[in-house]
Amino acid sequence: MLRINNLSVSYGPVAALRGIDLTVEAGETVALVGSNGAGKSTTLKAISGLVPPSGGTIEFLGETLNGLKPEAIVERGIVHVPEGRRIFPRLSVEQNLEVGAYSARAAMRRRRIREEVYALFPRLRERRQQMGGSLSGGEQQMLAFGRAMMAQPTLLLLDEPSLGLAPIIVEEVIRAIAHFRAEGVTILLVEQNAELALTLSARGYVLETGQVVLTDESQTLITHPKVWASYLGEKELEDT
């Protein structure tokens, strides 16, 4: 479904991605793990069109996405939930959801999907007139998921959905991801919490300083020393 070949991205003189290859098949959940600055978020931003690739290709359902604007990529069914939730603080919960279904492909069924969102997260229905910025962190994460549901993705890009959330809220995150999977949505999941990411996914890629250093079944990766090394740093592992 998604094919990334030799993708490079630079921020000015700094190379954030140095030629990564990555594929995601329809219906799969794939994890992208690695330490801070490994290039996980940059990979997602390149797919959704927020940053331009400096080399390589991104193909989705046989079509090259390079050079398309983010709003054109959304129309193809790729929905990116960015790090830090990024809900609109001075729009109400209901308006935030409305914006989620802004693309032409999502606008048609927006009323029905909104009911589904409220059924999955009753808290959002209670607060539908409240400003997004007045919600708690956990509620904002629910709203970010609700907004992604409104967009009706074929491929969902999730950037650090559990970051900074209490364990009880992480349960909600897992529930929301399960909902998308049950709907047959393909998911590319970026997480600092490698254990969580690898339990939720079938396959995974380990990124280190902008390169894929390892890819395997998630079950294998979860016990692989290299995964933990990429978080702790090689040096410390050698020392122990």
Binding site: S48, P82, R86, Q95, E98, V99, G100, A104, R147, A151
Partner: protein, 294 residues
Amino acid sequence: MIYDQFLQTLLGGLAIGCIYSLIALGISMIVRATDILHFAQGEVMMVGAMTGFSSGVWAGNAPLLALIGGTFGGGLMAVAVELGVYRPLRARRVPLINVVIATIGVSIVLQNVARLVWGSEPLAYPALFETRGLVISGFTVSPQLATIVVLSVLIMAALAVFFRYSRAGIAMQAAAQDPDAARLMGISVERATVNTFAVSGMMAGAAGVLLGSLFFASFNMGFITGIKAFVAAVLGGLGSVPGAMVGGLLFGVIETFSAMFISTSYKDAVGMVVLILILLVAPMGLFGRAGRQV
């Protein structure tokens, strides 16, 4: 009869305040969406006054057509400067301060173009609205001032409805609050910015017709009015929509009363002194918040 005089002055202040509010709203919307301090907003208002004048005369003193002509004239002019000047500058990643300086350039160019097209003599607006005194429960009320207040309130109410319920309005707010997140929802931030200029220009254009009908329309009417609208926007808290409305009304009333109690010659100075005092007490303005929060 002192009470009557007070009411008259208050109504006059509210009417001129409504005009400041309409211009200030556009300034606030633009700064929220693009961080640009739009110093040419007063000239957009002037262009609205001129196109309103021309379409009113062309239609044989039809007030409604003057208002429509002014509204669209202002909107088109604002869109033209966004597409022709500000967007190309932003695309070249010019520092923001240079774009702001460009808005001053635009304001001077618009004044000169208006002088070429409409001449340098002030144009007397045809009597758009009823000028005979209107008697409401014993008080004589100027129908012109009352019409300005009513029309302004209607325009601002329409704006509030547009922002709250329309998809385009919600998308404009989303794009202003977090452009990248808005892009990920499929919103074209470029289009949202053009819409912002269009709506803010339309309000300024309508304000131009109202102001022109009160006094004259002239090529240089925009400068000082634009500055005052700026003050109104800052008074309410730059970037805040309710702040711009209240700031405009407040500034209009303060200015009018200072003209009555002190002197007409000092009313501009008194208004500015009040601004400085308010900013000393509430540095962020009445409804202020710090810039664009994400």
